[in-house]
């Protein structure tokens, strides 16, 4: 991380305030590696976040320009920002699973419908962890959390035949991928593809929260146990594994490119102006 940190991160934000052993650093590092390998610099990327662990820990770490929106609304904020930025400037958002698949899902879907050029990295720690560990929309069913002391019985977005990425695909997302934080270059490659994708892209990355989720649901705060648990369930080969698994890799890449939102808006405005002048 040192080389990447020095190159891309604000010194005041190192070390991160995440709990020691938290997997969020692995996610953050993969995004920086992707940016580095794409040859991008601080002027090329505006970095946005929401709140919660993913927002709090990544906000204003980026040396370039940063913002953190209110919980779940950052996609709408980025939609407005997209219209103001240069088309070649990238917007990268690091948000949590609650921000993306709970409170912000409506805005996320409309952002996808409009095909706003941005890359959303959903850093998924299986629930609300910065508030102490309540279940969320990707919490494995049956998990013991602070708000599911008898085991989570509320259906989530990723089990029983549902996959939130299906919904995002149906809404029109052009690029979707899923990974876990214990993966290596394959995850970085997906993030690179996402950042390079002109239009809406999203990479869902599952990572271990040692303090709350693993501490309560699995009964161990030891990072090695958490990482082992995740590794055993990480399934890049798309094998037929039993139980909770995370099938990883590129989930969907559209062949027909839909017109990007701000590009289309500029073209539309230009045409109206021409029509009015003639």
């Amino acid at each position: 991380m040192d080389y990447l940190a020095e190159k891309f991160l604000k010194a005041k934000k190192i070390p991160s305030t995440a709990c020691s052993g938290c997997g969020l650093g692995q996610v953050h590092k993969k995004v920086l590696m992707a940016i580095d390998e794409l040859g991008l610099g601080s002027a090329d990327v505006v970095w946005g976040t929401g709140i919660g662990c993913a927002g709090r820990q990544t906000f204003n770490t980026w040396k370039g320009d940063n913002f953190a929106g209110t919980h779940g609304r950052v996609y709408a904020l980025a939609t407005g920002l997209r219209l103001a930025l240069q088309p070649e400037q990238k917007i990268v958002l690091t948000v949590g699973d609650g921000d993306a698949f709970g409170i912000g899902l409506l805005h996320l879907l409309h952002c996808i419908r409009r095909n706003v050029d941005m890359t959303v990295i959903v850093a998924d720690n299986f629930g609300y962890q910065s508030t102490g560990g309540q279940y969320g929309y990707t919490t494995p069913s049956g998990s013991i959390t602070d708000s599911s002391p008898y085991g989570m019985q509320d259906p989530n977005w990723v089990q029983d035949g549902r996959d939130i990425l299906d919904i995002l695909k149906s809404a029109g997302a052009g690029f979707l991928a899923r990974h876990t934080s214990v993966e290596g270059q394959n995850a970085v490659e997906s993030i690179k593809q996402a950042i390079n994708f002109k239009g809406f892209s999203l990479v869902h990355i599952v990572y271990p929260c040692v303090t709350n989720f693993f501490g309560k649901a699995l009964g161990s705060r030891k990072p090695v146990d958490a990482y082992r648990w995740l590794k055993e369930r990480t399934n890049p080969a798309q094998d037929n594994l039993e139980g909770i698994t995370f099938t990883t890799g590129v989930y969907h890449k559209a062949l027909d490119k839909r017109q990007e939102f701000s590009e289309q808006m500029r073209k539309f405005t230009g045409n109206v102006q021409k029509r009015c002048q003639s």
Binding site: S42, N66, F67, A68, T70, G80, H110, Q273
Partner: protein, 390 residues
Amino acid sequence: MKRLFDTGNAAITEAAIFAGCKLFSGYPITPATEIAENMSRRLPQVGGFYVQAEDELAALHICIGGSLGGLKAMTSTSGPGYILFADPYGWALGSEIPVVIVNAQRVGPVSGITGAPGQGEFYLSRYPTHGGNFESIVLAPSSVQEAFQLTVEAFYLAERFRMPITVLADQIVTDGWETLLIPETEAEIQAMGLRVAPRQVNYGPEFYPATDEIDVPPVVLGHNTGAACSDWTPTAEGFDTEEVEWQHKHAYRLIYKVRNNRNVITQYEEFGLEDNPDVIFVAYGSPARVVKSAVQAAREQGLKVGGIRLISIWPFPDEVFHRTAKYLSVELNYDGQLVREVQRAVPKDSDVHFLGRCGELPKVAELVDAARTLINGQALQAIKWEREAW
């Protein structure tokens, strides 16, 4: 000078274009919908963007996102949408991002009567978000022409104070048809007293000065300044902090940049106050026009009556209420909102009374009768659910 016969909604649209607005995002709602419709037609003509949002939360977030990137932006709504702005309003306020918000007030609470005027968001416009530690700026037009003037002014104040500004109109102002003059030459702009402030870029490294200064350029992203904008308490450079000392500095700035620069904001109109009248009507928005006529009618009948019309309502202009008199707050609601501030601001030996109507304006004769009753030392006839004396 362009001379039109049009609505307040049209005036607000043209004012925004005049002030350099390049982004409108809104959600349809009566009686503000025509602002959105007009914007969808007008903005592309001037190279701007119209985005119909999925809800009001998104509408204001899209606006502040655009503003964060350097575009002047505006949204419009009515009460049920204004309450949903609480979340992005707070963000813009704390991050000091300029944006203009129009609220065409109707009868409430909630959906109420969509096509009738109300004045139910007087206090909500003072506290349109949670958390305290801030002052808000609110301007209240009472005519189509003033809707134009004050919308231009709202964009101007938004830039200078780096914050969201509310234009608090009502359905009579937004739906009403009147003559609308739009200046075309520099001399006409000057004569109308219109002020336009261009968008500047803050290059840091200090983005959040711990002072009460205005005219500090707002943060604009995309210039690689390392700027940071968030809803967390910022340090001078925008780092999120849990330190109470920075919270004090932040609160000081958000409160006192407004309080200490009130001279840039405060506007009101006084009529018939020269001879220290017995009764002083107080109103803002469309009821203030009935009040003005009532003052004239009362004077013709030999009653010593005057009036105060508030044009800027927050920060509240306490200084206007220095005369001892019987004050009568005339409002488009039955619970009395403005009256509470009047009661707070007047000299101790004054009486404060309330006359509320809802969905329709009070009549001139009613107000003259009320003035006579008060001058005679009698109690006003109150509707059953009203409380007359304050």
